[in-house]
């Protein structure tokens, strides 16, 4: 069935539950028809402030049904960042709290396939806008439904942000099956989160590594959930310790635990590990989703055919994006990559299961957000500090020369504020001198060795 246009076929079944309302599929359809009358006739770019509400989804579905291009924007975005988006893309309509306000009527010149734009989960110069088609969304939702045991009578917890590819994929895969999504944005450290499991027969949950870190810390795995059948994790690498804990929890309560891999550039999902392999292959992302294909390419751009060889992970499938857009005019010119180069370095084992070992570019992920180390380095220099930046997931290391460490604590707090992260993620290290390579570039390998030694001692 067609994702956005045929919703009414599920009739009076409930599509969304929120603390305030229960919305049936027929209701969704009629609310979309009503919303359509508030949008311009000409093809338009519609910026949707993605609050965690049914209204956000109605605005999204309506935009797509009416042939417009929707842009889902983080509702907590800083004003200056929003201003930049408006300057670059000049949206025709702004939707906030479900209300569409037309800003201008200049027809959008865009490729007919473009339906949605999502931002990659980045900041500090690394965020990009990804253009997706209805076919991308439909294909990825169908693939997800082909490997996850989503049933029409399911009630999933939709707690991930709607502007986030993984969060949105939870919605699309469930409405494709006519299931129900409980929309809730309460934090897991809020009492209300735990009450949801008592009030509703939740059958599945989805989380990023940080969600599971907090859930395990709060003892989620020590309780019983009579309706829960499975849970999924994506959005970064979960520590093996947590995978072990969650795999035990899954085994004890006869649940399926799906570790998955994806990127906004692939609409959401690219790979998943079969739940029965979770104990044996804790750090694997498994194999390509149904309809997709994964391969590895070495530095000479040759395909790697032998197991255990490192190369860049590339993906092909109907869910691969139309291209990136940095400004409004880019919507008319698609790059349509056949193979998506993920930027992740990986290998596969004898059974064809893939493992990520690192990233090609200098990025780290902190609490699910991507940060460019080079951008942080520039920020450091803007602060008048001579230094280099390294990092692994959950930590950024700032290496600076002697004599400057007296201001390290102040620097740490200031940078944390500028980056919008908790200061505990930043470590400042004092070095006698900063190692450089023969051609005068930062010697990151030497710095990395230094850090490995320091952290292991």
């Amino acid at each position: 069935m067609s994702l956005f246009t045929e919703l009414a076929e599920y009739g009076d079944d409930i599509a969304f539950i929120t603390p305030a309302e229960r919305v049936s599929y027929v209701d969704v359809d009629s609310r979309c028809k009503k919303m359509a009358t508030t949008l311009p006739d000409k093809r338009s770019l519609i910026l949707i402030n993605a609050e965690h509400t049914v209204d956000t989804l109605i605005a999204l579905f309506t935009s797509i049904r009416e042939g417009h291009v929707a842009m889902l924007v983080n509702p907590t975005i800083a004003n200056d960042e929003l201003d930049k988006i408006i300057e670059h893309f000049s949206p025709n309509v702004m939707v906030k709290n479900g209300i569409a306000v037309t800003v201008h009527n200049e027809e959008l010149v865009a490729d007919p396939n473009v339906a949605l734009m999502l931002s990659t989960s980045g900041s500090t110069g690394s965020a990009k806008w990804v253009m997706l088609s209805v076919e991308n969304l439909q294909a990825n939702a169908a693939s997800i439904c082909a490997y996850l045991p989503i049933r029409q009578d399911d009630l999933t917890l939709g707690n991930l942000p709607l502007h986030y590819a993984y969060g949105l994929s939870v919605i699309t895969s469930h409405i494709l099956k006519g299931a129900t999504v409980l929309l809730s944005s309460v934090s897991v450290i809020d009492k209300a989160f735990w009450q949801l499991f008592e009030e509703y027969p939740i059958t599945s949950i989805a989380g990023v590594p940080y969600t599971y870190e907090m859930l395990v810390r709060l003892g989620f795995h020590k309780k019983n959930y009579s309706h829960l059948r499975y849970f999924t994790q994506a959005g970064g690498k979960l520590s093996t310790r947590l995978i072990d804990t969650l795999a035990d929890f899954a085994a004890t309560q006869s649940l399926a635990f799906y570790v998955m891999y994806g990127q906004t550039e692939a609409t959401a999902r690219m790979a998943y590990l079969s739940p029965e392999k979770i104990n044996e292959k804790v750090s694997s992302i498994g194999q390509a989703i149904p309809g997709g294909e994964l391969t590895l390419v070495n530095e000479l751009n040759e395909t790697i055919t032998a197991p255990y060889m490192h190369g860049e992970l590339c993906y092909r499938g109907q869910n691969v994006m139309l291209g990136y857009a940095q400004r409004r005019s880019d919507l008319a010119k698609l790059t349509n990559p056949e193979w998506l180069a993920t930027g992740d370095i990986a290998y596969f084992d004898d059974a064809g299961d893939f493992y990520i070992v690192g990233r090609k570019k200098r990025f780290v992920k902190l609490w699910g957000q991507r940060f460019s180390l080079d951008a942080i380095e520039s920020l450091l220099h803007e602060n008048g500090i001579n230094g280099f930046v390294l990092g692994v997931d959950n930590r950024i290391d700032i290496m600076t020369t002697q004599g400057q460490l007296d201001i390290a604590e102040g620097l740490r707090l200031r940078l944390a504020k500028q980056l919008g992260v908790h200061p505990s993620a930043l470590r400042v290290h004092e070095m006698a001198s900063l190692p450089m390579t023969a051609n005068g570039k930062p010697d990151y390998q030497a710095l990395s060795n230094y850090l490995t030694k320091k952290y292991s001692s």
């Binding site: 450290i189 809020d190 009492k191 810390r217 003892g219 505990s424």
Partner: protein, 81 residues
């Protein structure tokens, strides 16, 4: 270090704020620094400082500095001085 000093230290480190900002009235989600991420780091700091293990309800209920004292007192940590 007195228990009050330990508490102040834990909040200051956990939330990344200055010691003088740590008052009984300081409440979760009322300053940008005390969000859900910082809350979990704060919990780890408190557990370290006082050498205790906090359970789910303690963590969820710890919505202010005053409330933290109340919860810690259940673990025989007193703030009378």
């Amino acid at each position: 270090m007195s228990n009050q000093q330990k508490l102040t230290e834990a909040f200051s480190q956990g939330l990344g704020i200055e010691s003088k900002q740590v008052t009984d009235a300081l409440t979760y989600n009322t300053i940008p620094e005390w969000d859900s991420t910082a809350h979990m780091i704060l919990i780890a700091e408190l557990e370290n400082q006082f050498n205790i293990m906090l359970d789910t309800d303690d963590i969820i209920d710890m919505s202010s500095v005053a409330k933290a004292k109340e919860i810690l007192s259940k673990h025989d940590i007193s703030f009378d001085a």
